[in-house]
C-alpha cells in the first residue's frame, strides 16, 4: 500500500521509480510489480530492489536519484532527511506517530466506539494513523466510566486470528520482535502505575495457530501524556485512556507530544469541532473519524517529528514533488 502513495504520481509525471521494500515485508511489493509487468509497464520504469540499510544507503548516495520518499520510523526518516540534504535530493519522509483521539462530553458512543476500535486496533495498531491515546474531556465521571467500559467491552470482543479469514478482525503483529516490543510497553505501563483494564497478554485467538506473534487488544486507563506509554509510539494494539478537564487542556496534551501525524475529535458540537480543527497542530485532522486517512487527491500532511520534507505525499503536492518548475522569460 505505502509505495502507492508515491509511485503512481512519479510514473504519471514521467519519472522512473525504485521501490526498496522493508526486508520484513517484501512479498506484497514483488506481487505488485509482477502485476505491473503483466499490465505492460516498459522495462525499467518501476523497479524493486531488496535489501537492508546498506542498499538504502546506496540509493541515498546515488547521483542519478533525484528524490527519495520514505515511510517508517522517525529515527530513520530524520537520517534520510539529513543525508538527502547533503546529497541534494528532495525528500518526503513520513514518519512515526502518537495520535490522540479526543472524546467530548455527549459524544455519541455508539458511533465513537466502533471508530475507535478501527483506529486503535485496525492493522493490529501497526500504522502511522492508528489511534494511541483517547482523551476524555470534562468532569462527568458517569460519562467517563461509560466510555471506558464500552471501549473495554468492544475491544474484548474483537476476533483475533488469521487475518485472511473474512470474519477475523485483528491479525498478528508483524514479527516476534514487534510482539516483544509491545509486551515491553505493557510492562512499562504497569511499572508506571497505570490501570491495565484489558490485558492483551492473555492470548485468545480463533483457530489453532501458534501464538508467537499474537497480542490481544490492550487498554490502559489513567495514563498521562508524560508517561512512556502515553508519549512513545508503540506500533501495536495498545490503547491508553487519559482525562482532560477541558478541550484547551486536551489540545495542550496533543501539542506536548513531538509527533503530529493525526488527531481526531468525537463530538456532536460544530463549535467544538471547528475549534479543534483550527487550533490543533496535527497534519491529518479527523472530526468523528478514527483514522483521518486522506484520499489520494489530498496530501498526507504529517507535521513535526511525523514528517521531514517540504511537499507531502499524495495529491497536488506529490505532483509538484515529482516535477520540476521552470520559468521562461522571453523578449523577441
Amino acid at each position: 500500500m505505502v509505495p502507492l502513495w508515491f509511485l503512481p504520481y512519479a510514473v504519471a509525471t514521467g519519472n522512473t521509480f525504485i521501490v526498496k521494500p522493508s526486508p520484513s515485508d517484501p512479498i506484497s511489493q514483488v506481487r505488485l510489480h509482477e502485476l505491473m509487468d503483466e499490465a505492460g509497464f516498459p522495462p525499467g520504469v518501476v523497479n524493486v530492489i531488496h535489501g537492508g540499510a546498506e542498499v538504502a544507503s546506496m540509493l541515498l548516495e546515488h547521483p542519478d536519484i533525484e528524490g527519495v520518499t520514505f515511510v517508517g520510523s522517525t529515527k530513520v526518516g530524520r537520517h534520510i532527511y539529513k543525508k538527502c540534504g547533503e546529497t541534494g535530493k528532495r525528500v518526503i519522509a513520513q514518519c512515526g506517530a502518537k495520535n490522540f483521539l479526543v472524546v467530548m462530553p455527549h459524544a455519541d458512543l455508539d458511533q465513537t466506539i466502533p471508530s475507535m476500535m478501527t483506529s486503535f486496533f485496525g492493522n493490529t495498531g501497526q500504522r502511522c494513523l492508528s489511534g494511541a491515546n483517547a482523551v476524555v474531556v470534562g468532569e462527568d465521571d458517569v460519562f467517563y466510566k461509560r466510555f471506558v467500559d464500552s471501549l473495554v467491552e468492544a475491544a474484548s470482543q474483537i476476533k483475533v486470528g488469521y487475518g485472511l479469514e473474512e470474519g477475523i478482525q485483528m491479525g498478528p503483529l508483524q514479527s516476534k520482535d514487534k510482539k516483544e516490543r509491545g509486551l515491553g510497553y505493557i510492562q512499562k505501563g504497569i511499572e508506571e502505575g497505570v490501570t491495565l483494564r484489558l490485558d492483551g497478554r492473555k492470548i485468545k485467538i480463533e483457530g489453532d495457530y501458534p501464538t508467537t506473534c499474537f497480542l490481544n487488544p490492550t487498554i490502559f486507563e489513567d495514563v498521562t501524556p508524560e508517561m512512556t506509554i502515553g508519549r512513545e509510539e508503540i506500533f501495536g494494539p495498545v490503547a491508553s485512556v487519559m482525562k482532560a478537564e477541558s478541550l484547551d487542556r486536551a489540545i495542550e496534551m496533543i501539542h506536548s507530544n513531538p509527533y503530529r501525524n493525526a488527531a481526531s475529535i468525537f463530538t456532536p458540537s460544530g463549535k467544538w469541532a471547528r475549534e479543534f480543527e483550527y487550533r490543533v497542530q496535527a497534519g491529518n485532522v479527523g472530526i468523528n473519524i478514527g483514522i483521518a486517512a486522506p484520499m489520494a487527491f489530498f496530501p498526507f500532511t504529517g507535521m513535526k517529528d511525523s514528517f521531514f520534507g517540504t511537499l507531502h505525499g499524495q495529491g497536488k503536492e506529490a505532483v509538484r514533488f515529482f516535477t520540476e518548475s521552470k520559468v521562461v522569460i522571453k523578449r523577441w
Binding site: 455508539d110 478501527t118 500504522r127 468492544a154 478482525q169 486517512a293
Partner: protein
C-alpha cells in the same frame, strides 16, 4: 454466521443479490404473466450489487479496511435459495417473496445503521437498497392482492 467485518458483509451481499436474482429468474420463467416484473427485480439486484461494491471499493480506506464495523449482524440462512417447485402457486410464490424481501430489507437497514460510524458512502448506499427492497415488497403485496 456472524458478520463482523466489511469484507464479510460485501461477500454476503453478493450472495443475497445473486441468489434472489436467481429466484426471480426462475419465477419469471414459471409465471409468464409477471415475467417483466420479476426480470426487473433481477436487473435491480445486479445494479444493487454493483452499486454497493462500487461504494465500498471507491471509498476504500483504512477506516473500512480495519473491519470493525459490524456487531450482531447475522447472515440469515433462510435467505439461501428457496425451493420453488412446479406445484407452488403464484400466491404462495408472492407470499414467500414478500417475506424474503422483508428479511432482506431489515438486513440492509441494520447493516446501514451499523456502518454509520465509518465512511458515509457505504451506509448511504445500504439505506438506498433497503428502500428499494421496501418498494419491491409493496409491489409484491399489490400483486398478491390482485391475484
Amino acid at each position: 454466521m456472524e458478520i463482523n467485518t466489511a469484507a464479510a458483509l460485501i461477500t454476503y451481499i453478493s450472495k443475497i443479490e445473486q441468489e434472489s436474482a436467481m429466484l426471480y429468474e426462475k419465477l419469471a420463467k414459471k409465471h409468464e404473466e409477471l415475467r417483466e416484473t420479476f426480470l426487473s427485480f433481477v436487473k435491480e439486484n445486479k445494479k444493487n450489487e454493483t452499486n454497493i461494491k462500487r461504494a465500498y471499493y471507491s471509498v476504500i480506506s483504512d477506516a473500512l479496511e480495519a473491519c470493525f464495523s459490524f456487531g450482531g449482524l447475522n447472515a440469515d440462512n433462510s435467505l439461501s435459495q428457496p425451493i420453488v417447485d412446479e406445484g407452488t402457486s403464484l400466491s404462495e410464490v408472492l407470499r414467500f417473496s414478500i417475506d424474503l424481501e422483508e428479511i432482506i430489507e431489515k438486513f440492509y437497514s441494520k447493516a446501514a445503521d451499523q456502518s454509520k460510524a465509518l465512511m458515509a458512502d457505504l451506509p448511504r448506499v445500504l439505506e438506498h437498497v433497503a428502500k428499494l427492497r421496501n418498494k419491491r415488497g409493496t409491489k409484491l403485496r399489490l400483486l398478491l392482492d390482485n391475484t
